[in-house]
Every structure is written in structure tokens, then in C-alpha cells.
Symmetry: C3
Subunit: 397 residues, 3 copies
């Protein structure tokens, strides 16, 4: 779709409720709201490709809170903010004078005096990340209502313990471009499968986010994992409900082979069992570090039993015409490259390297589109204005 | 006051000397100069509330130097710089190649090639912080005179060992809004009192800054602390002199009850004895870390004798009509929340939570106003231009 | 030269190939290309001095990668980016989720979605830094070609194991201003000499960059060091070849006195022997940390034999009319100031302090000029437009 068509598409969608609201979970939003974000992401990318400015803010801060190391998401958030005119200010907890026992309500307001957007990644402990993000949003809503903040900063989840919305939406937009349109994803089979990694405790937000979103797009979603690697029940229920409403299907299997057979897309990634992550959260709460060490050892042993859960060339041959699209949120554990045995064969990864990087390249635009729709009253008019403006991003003569 | 009235107020004030000068201590400045800063802070806030741009810089850096952890001041400085169009660049000494024995003159010039403003927080050692800030300012003045720097960056103290001007001025502006006008602070009784904290060595710049500034506003300032918690003599002299010139009164007492009785404002915060902080600086200079540990132990014991110095509901009942405004620079040590026993009862803190956050919210505007008046030749004309400009901060259609 | 003359000068030069290309080594570039950078650096400085905007980017990121601590270069890069309208985003490897074994190709693309410029300092290991920079540039070229990146970010070397181009070019521009014109450097004698420092392992990129560039300018370059402190052969060959093409001369001596005799410029700095640095790289590759410690001890002992290699007042008296310009990339090891015995006498350093700071002050403009010429299609027209625009950098009324 060209820019004009994108704006035309936007006109057909109902997405008013995104304005001034937060983005936590994809299933909080209507399908049309998600489509509006996909459409604006494409439009913002078109502006960038054509050296046109997408700066809607003359000043203002985008606060980032990463409670874990991050490269891709950190640079995607920084890129999105910069594109729209916001300066990123990182709340590094170790450089901060956050008092022991200081309430989140206080911290949230103290960093938000001139914040338009708050991007939070908090995926470490079950039951914590999403709750933290919601409490942060409620705190700044209160600060705005009380006249402490001149604007109500909106929250964009950059990953929580439940969902990873910017990743899953970027992945979906990549799939849509690859298969020539979001509507073409209907009926496509996607194998969302666990894979072996020598490290343990990788976040559940990816498989959960995948089944929560891809069932919305009418895909045939097959979630595969070895027994014992179950994900959160609530999200499984969300996926089941989606199928009823959106067509497609949702199946759980303990066979990677079954999942990948005739699949259009193979998305294979390690994660930790939900029950184990709940246990870890409890151990952590009790300060039981010996218990955590014991759990880690147990989980590594458990993982090691499933080294055959890996994306090999043979497995790829069993997919639709032997040519399924291979996807991964990156970085991947590549056998013989980043580890001895891992999630994927080096030859498979290399063959899809270009597609994998393209997949990642949608994330800044998805984040920027979320911010755009949270902040701009009349997105269609604003996009048209940005397109027709003489303002160049790089005014290089 | 509305925007027009604020600009009108500015016209009545003499504040030329702020232009191109630094801000170290409130008592370096005339009362009209302080009033100009209060007025511009309100005007900049009005611009923000009305979605108008206050960007006076098209590019330029604001350098921050925090020699201690910080959240509130860090984000306030970043907000102020961003609002005016400066990008913050933090001089993190641990990431820097500052050679052993490198002169401050050299460091100051090396980071200032494109710096318009330098914000420094250095409150750790008696006799050091203010001296460091002055030397920094002198160094860049020399660099400017010698053609090394194209502009003379001005220094804003974000706290030193003597004063905490941006905090005290933000607090004052909050009081003025609460009591409907700066002139209404005349004759108001403020209890600036020590309070118990389980930690030790909190900076003296807050009580010193308080007595140094609030006596300027014609308030009845009562400084209360247990015997042994004396503050710097020089600042006590400043406060006494202020009373002669500005009316009001200044009293020191060793009774928290006496200070709070019929007070209009209760401002209760822990600090370390000046003499002990001098001792610590000397021990530190001698590399006597055992001595420092012994001193810490002694100070914690000394603190523990004064757990009754805390803001209870009963104490608040003795204030003017039982309804004094409670103030704190945050974060507070709240009994039963952030510590077992602390500076204030949770119920008192909670009752004034909204006011405490509002108090904090003035700091970015105070800092921005200082920068604005240091950099803008014709502040009245510039404010009028910003107000009448079509430029929106968020151009959201 | 005034602004008009600078633009006129630019018209006489052929520098098209700088556009969209990287900057690794000065000897990759033609003399006219280097002159274009010198000229644009002066022009950008003139814009700044006259409070004119040089902002050519409305948004965009400048990514910095410092694999070693840095102050001068860090702030110079940040200043250059800010001046042109780019926001700096630092890739701090310790805050990043760069997987063990993650390819540079992946990291390079993941941080570059909205990057216009990548500044890399990597000078620690022989054979590594330059190679890393080249591979980074090739990776983003591929990403651009594959439609992953909307723009091709160009790389500016902020120092590698071979050359330190922004330093050497800034130094050269300083010399040119000091001696009233780049053409006046022809035939000037520069003593580029090793000097004693109590630390070891200082980078070779400075002496190598010096002989590689100053021979281009037709200077009489004398490289002096105690036996055993040889630099990279390949760069010695570059210097020799330059002499054939550009006139001037290039001599190596083991006598500091000989080098400084009648010199117009004395540039004295410690460095490590190339062979020892190669050895260190190998030990490091083998994880032989005992070997590294032993090497360090040996090198410190070796250094200590040459404490007489220092810039004294007597030595300075032997220079041209006793008045050679003293230069250093800073920070210097100053005898009695930053160390007991070092590279230079305090009185010499102090006498040239102003010139040393001026020397450093050219670096942000050199970096900005490199970026400008990499990004702007029609630099002459663009500079003229910036000069005639009403846009002020600080719009202070």
C-alpha cells in the first residue's frame, strides 16, 4: 500500500480509544485498534523512506525503564522517540536516589514532570511486570488529575511477564509484508515452538504474546513444547476465545515435528516453564537464594533432555513446500555459532538472516505508531500534513 | 497571575545581572532577581500548560555532573534543558578518561565546547561542593575569554555543601501558590526542623538553604534541632542579616514542639551535624576509613537518641489551626513505609501527598527559569513572543 | 579566512567521494578531501561563533561506541552530533543484551534502524579496532542494501589501533591557525617524540596517525623514540610514500634532542612498543593473564629507563628560536602535577595551556565536518544557506 492507501485504510478503522490510553496487552485492544497501529507503522516508515519529517513533538521526554539488559528494544524505543521529537531519558535504577521503600507512585510522578511517554520493560518475575506497568500508569494518571503533571504520560509496555506486544506486533507486520497483506495471514499455519537453549529462564512473554495475538489474525496457531513447559493458563484461555471470534485455530502439542509439518511459519524459541517461573518468584520473594540455585540446576537438567528440540534443515524440509518462513525475536542461540547446541542450525539461520533482520526492523515503527496514536488527536489529518509538508528529515540540499 | 500579569510583574523588576552569570547561592542574588526567577518559572509553566513551545535553543548541550545518586534533580534538570531545547550530556566520572591529577580547569573546558549550561550537584564534602562549582565557572570563563569556547556556559548549582537553591526556590514557589501569593508568606511561621532518620549524613544544604532563603521572604523562620545538630555558622549569620533587612524573624530552638506550635508550615528533615561533616571531610582527606566507620557508628547512635523528633499526628495538631502545610524535599523516611521509625508518620505523609508532589513539580520550572534568565537578553519580549507564536509543543492537529 | 572565503575555497576542491562514505584512516583520503574537511570545520565554527544554526537533521541518531573510557572524544562527538541535529545514543556493551557469540553484523544492524552516523573508538588491541570498524561499516551497508535500514549510516573512526584521524586532523587545523594557514605548515619541522609516562600501554594510534598525516602536509616530520619503541611498519611505509608525493621529509631517530633541535612544533607523548602490543593481543587471545601481568611489569621497567625523555624547559630552549609550539592530545602526564615524573615539565605545560585547550577545541568541528561531508549532497550551497538563514542557534531576542 502506498501512503495514500494507508491513510485511506485508516479512515475505515475505529481506533479513538487509543488516544490518551496506555498499551499493555494486545488483547486489551480491538482488532481495528491493532490494525490502526499496523497501518500507522507502515505510514511512518514511508515518511522515513521518503526523507520526510515525522516530528510531532517540539520538545518532551520519553522515559525508558529497563529492568533487564536490552539492545534491540532499547534502540527501537530510542529510535521511535527520536523520530517523533522526544528525547529519551533513561531511569537507571542504580544511578537513582530511589529510597528503600519509596512508593512507585512517588517515583512515577517524580520522573514524569515533562514526560510524554514511558516505555517499560519488566519481564523478570511472574505477577510483577504487568502489575508494575499498570500501577505506573495509574500513578501518573493521578498526578495528572491532581495538577502535578502538565500532561498525562502514556505507558507503552516494552515487554512484561505476560505479553511482549511491540515484539509480536512487529513480527506480525513482518509476516504481513512477507505474505503480501495482513489478510493473507488468515489460515496460515504458524508453529510457535519451544526450542533448546543452554541458558534457562528465558521469558514466557514471547510464546504467550504469540498465541494471544496470532489467533487474532485468523492464523492456525500450533503451540508446541515438551511436557512440563506449559505457559500461563490465562493466556491459553485468551487464545481459545480468540479462535471462536476470529476463525483460525489453536492447538497445543508436545511434538515439534507435528507443529512444523506443513507450517507456513516456524517460530522457535526457548522459554522457561510457567510453574518454575512462579516458583522462582516465590523463592525470590522469600530471599531463598539457595532455592533459586537449586531451581536453576533442575531447569538446566530439564532443558538438557530436550536438545532435539531444535530447528534443523530436516525439520525445515517438512514445512509447507519445504519453505516455511523462519522467525525469531533475536538474539537466537545458534548451534555452532553462539553456543554448542542451540535453538537453530547455523545454515537455517543464515538462509533467513535477511528476513530476520527485516523482522526486527519493524519494531521502532510499531512503537512509534503506538505513541503517535496515543498522542495525536487526528491521526489521518496529521499524517497527510506530514506527507505534504516541505520539512525534510535530512535537509541536505 | 495569568501570563500577561506575569510578564507585567517582570517589567517592574531589576534582574539584568542574572544575564550571563552563574547561580550558586540564593543570597548571592537580590530579592528582585529571585522574584524574576519565580515569575519566569510560573510563565514557563503556563506555556507548557497551554501546549506552547518554550524552545529558545535550536541546539546546544546542558552538561550535568552528579557526584552522588539522584532521581528528582536529575529528571528536573533534564526536563528543564529539554523544554528550552538543550540536550543533556551527563559527565559520568567513571566512564570518563579523567586522568589522575587532571586539573578541573582542563576537564571543565574539555566538556564545554558546545555547552550552554552546566548543572552540578556536589554536596558530599564540607568545603568542597561550592568551591568546585565556583572553580568550574571560573575555568569556563577563562576558556571563553581565550577563544577556546564559543559561548560562556553558565553554571547552575543543583546542590552544594552550603545551599540547595533549586530545591529551596521550588519549595518557596509552592508555598507561594499554596498561600495565594509570595507576599502572603510574610509573617508566616515555618518550622524548619530536624527529624529522625535511620540513615546518617544527610546533607546540610537543605536546612542551610531554608534559613538562607525563607528569611528573605519575610517569614518567621524557626530552626529546630537536638543539641549537637548545629548547621554552618556562616549561613546562620546570613539568616540573621536577612531578618534585619527583610522583616520576619529567625529563631533557633532545641525543641521541635516549640518550633511547630502555631506554625503555618512544618518542614521536617534529617541532617548531619556540621561539625561531624567537617570531621568526615578531614578523615576522608587523610584516607582514614576506619575513622569514618567509627564516626558513622557514633552518628547513628547519636541519631537514635532522638527518635521522638518525628512528625506525628499529635504534633500536627499543635500547628496553626491544626492545619499547617507539611513540606519535604523527598524522598522522606516514612515510619512504617520506608523504614521502621522515620521522619514522619505515614498518615501525615499520605494526607499531604498531593501537596508534596506539587512541591516537587516546581523544580524543573525553577531550573528552566534560571537558565532562561542567564541566556536571554530580553526575557519579557521573548516570553511574549513565545506566548503569541503559533508553535505548539505537541503539534497533534 | 572569512565565511565567504571558506566557501570559495571549497569550490576549488574535489571531495565528492566523501559523500556517503566512511572515515577510517586519513591516508584513505585524498589531500583535497582532507582540505575539504578542514575548510568545512572552519565554516561550521564560524556559524557557531555567529550564533547561526548548523542543524541539517530534523531528527536522527548518532550512535557512539566507546570500547574504552573517554571524555574529550565522547564530548566532542556529542557536540558534533548535537550541532547538526542528531541525538547521541550510546551503545554501552554492559547495558546491552548482546548475546555471547552474537555476530557484529547483527548488532550493527540492530542499533542502526534510525542511525545516520556511527562513531567508534576501539584502540585497545592490535589488529582489532580498525577491523571492527570496517566490519561494522560493511554490515550496515548490507543492511541498507537489503532494505533493513532506511538510510546507510556512515562510520567515523574516533580512534582505532592504527590511526586517530579526528585527533590528528584537529591538531593539524590548530597548527594551521597558529601558523596562519595550512600552506605555511610546509617545511615546518615537527618533533613527534616519545616521552616518559609512569603508566604503560598508551595507544600507538597517535604517533602513527601523526606520521601518516603530517607528512601529507609537507612538514619535516621527525619521529623520535628510544630503541624498542617502534611503531607499525605499514604506517612507516605510508609516511615514506607521502614524502615522495608531498615534499617535506620523514626521519626516525633515537634522540629526543635531535628531534627537537630547531623544531617549530614539539609533540611529545608516551606510547607502547608495537611489538609488545602485538604480544599483548596474542596473550589476551590465549587468555594468558599471567603473561599479560608479566608483560606489563617488563614494559614498566623498560619505560623507567627513559625518564629523561621528557619535555623540559632546557629542551624547549633548543627549539626554533626557543619558541616551538608545544602540542599534546591531552590529558598529559605533567611532572609534579598529575604524576611524579612524566611527559612534560609543569612550567612548559602551563605556558602553553591556552594553546593546548585551543588545540582540543577543534575536534568537535572536525567530527562535525566529516559528518557534514558524508551526509550533505551539496555542501557549498548548504553552507551558504545556513549562513544566510535567519535561524539563530540561541534565539534570545
Amino acid at each position: 500500500m502506498d501512503f495514500k492507501q494507508l491513510v485511506g485504510k485508516l479512515e475505515t478503522l475505529d481506533f479513538e480509544k487509543l488516544y490518551q490510553d496506555d498499551f499493555f496487552l494486545t488483547w486489551d485492544k480491538s482488532r481495528e485498534e491493532l490494525d490502526a497501529i499496523f497501518t500507522v507503522a507502515d505510514a511512518l516508515r514511508a515518511l522515513r523512506e521518503n526523507n520526510k519529517s515525522a516530528k510531532i513533538f517540539d520538545s518532551g521526554l520519553g522515559i525508558s525503564i529497563f529492568r533487564d539488559n536490552s539492545t534491540r528494544t532499547r534502540f527501537s524505543f530510542a529510535s521511535a522517540c527520536n523520530m517523533l521529537g522526544l528525547e529519551v531519558q533513561d531511569l537507571e535504577e542504580k544511578k537513582s536516589q530511589i529510597a528503600h521503600g519509596e512508593t512507585l507512585m512517588e517515583t512515577a510522578n517524580m520522573v514524569s514532570f515533562m514526560a510524554d511517554i514511558i516505555g517499560i520493560r519488566d519481564d523478570m518475575y511472574i505477577g510483577k511486570g504487568h502489575a508494575y506497568q499498570k500501577e505506573f500508569a495509574e500513578s501518573v494518571q493521578m498526578g495528572y488529575d491532581e495538577g502535578i503533571l502538565e500532561q498525562r504520560p502514556t505507558v507503552v509496555s516494552l515487554q512484561c511477564d505476560i505479553d511482549h506486544p511491540t515484539q509480536m506486533m512487529a513480527d506480525s507486520l513482518h509476516f504481513a509484508h512477507y505474505f503480501d497483506g495482513m489478510e493473507n495471514l488468515k489460515g496460515k499455519k504458524i508453529a510457535l515452538t519451544w526450542a533448546y537453549s543452554p541458558s534457562y529462564g528465558k521469558p514466557l512473554s514471547v510464546p504467550q504474546g504469540g498465541i494471544g495475538l496470532w489467533t487474532r489474525l485468523g492464523m492456525d496457531v500450533v503451540l508446541a513444547y515438551p511436557e512440563g513447559y506449559e505457559v500461563m493458563d490465562e493466556v491459553v484461555e485468551v487464545a481459545k476465545k480468540n479462535v471462536e471470534e476470529c476463525g483460525g485455530s489453536f492447538t497445543i502439542t508436545n511434538s515439534m515435528e507435528e507443529a512444523c509439518k506443513d507450517a507456513d511459519i516456524v517460530y522457535a524459541k526457548s522459554w522457561a516453564p510457567f510453574a518454575a517461573m512462579e516458583e522462582r518468584t516465590e523463592l525470590y520473594g522469600n530471599g531463598d537464594f539457595e532455592g533459586i540455585d537449586a531451581l536453576e540446576e533442575r531447569l538446566l537438567e530439564q532443558n538438557a533432555k530436550h536438545k532435539d528440540w531444535t530447528v534443523t534443515e530436516e525439520l525445515m524440509k517438512t514445512t509447507k513446500n519445504g519453505k516455511a518462513l523462519y522467525g525469531h525475536p533475536l538474539p537466537a542461540d545458534i548451534t555452532g555459532v553462539s553456543c554448542k547446541e542451540g535453538e537453530v542450525d547455523a545454515s537455517v539461520f543464515d538462509r533467513y538472516r535477511k528476513e530476520l533482520y527485516q523482522q526486527a526492523s519493524f519494531k521502532p515503527y510499531i512503537i512509534a505508531a503506538m505513541i503517535f496514536l496515543q498522542k495525536v488527536k487526528n491521526p489521518k489529518e496529521k499524517l497527510e500534513e506530514l506527507w505534504s509538508d516541505a520539512d525534510k528529515r535530512l535537509n541536505d540540499k
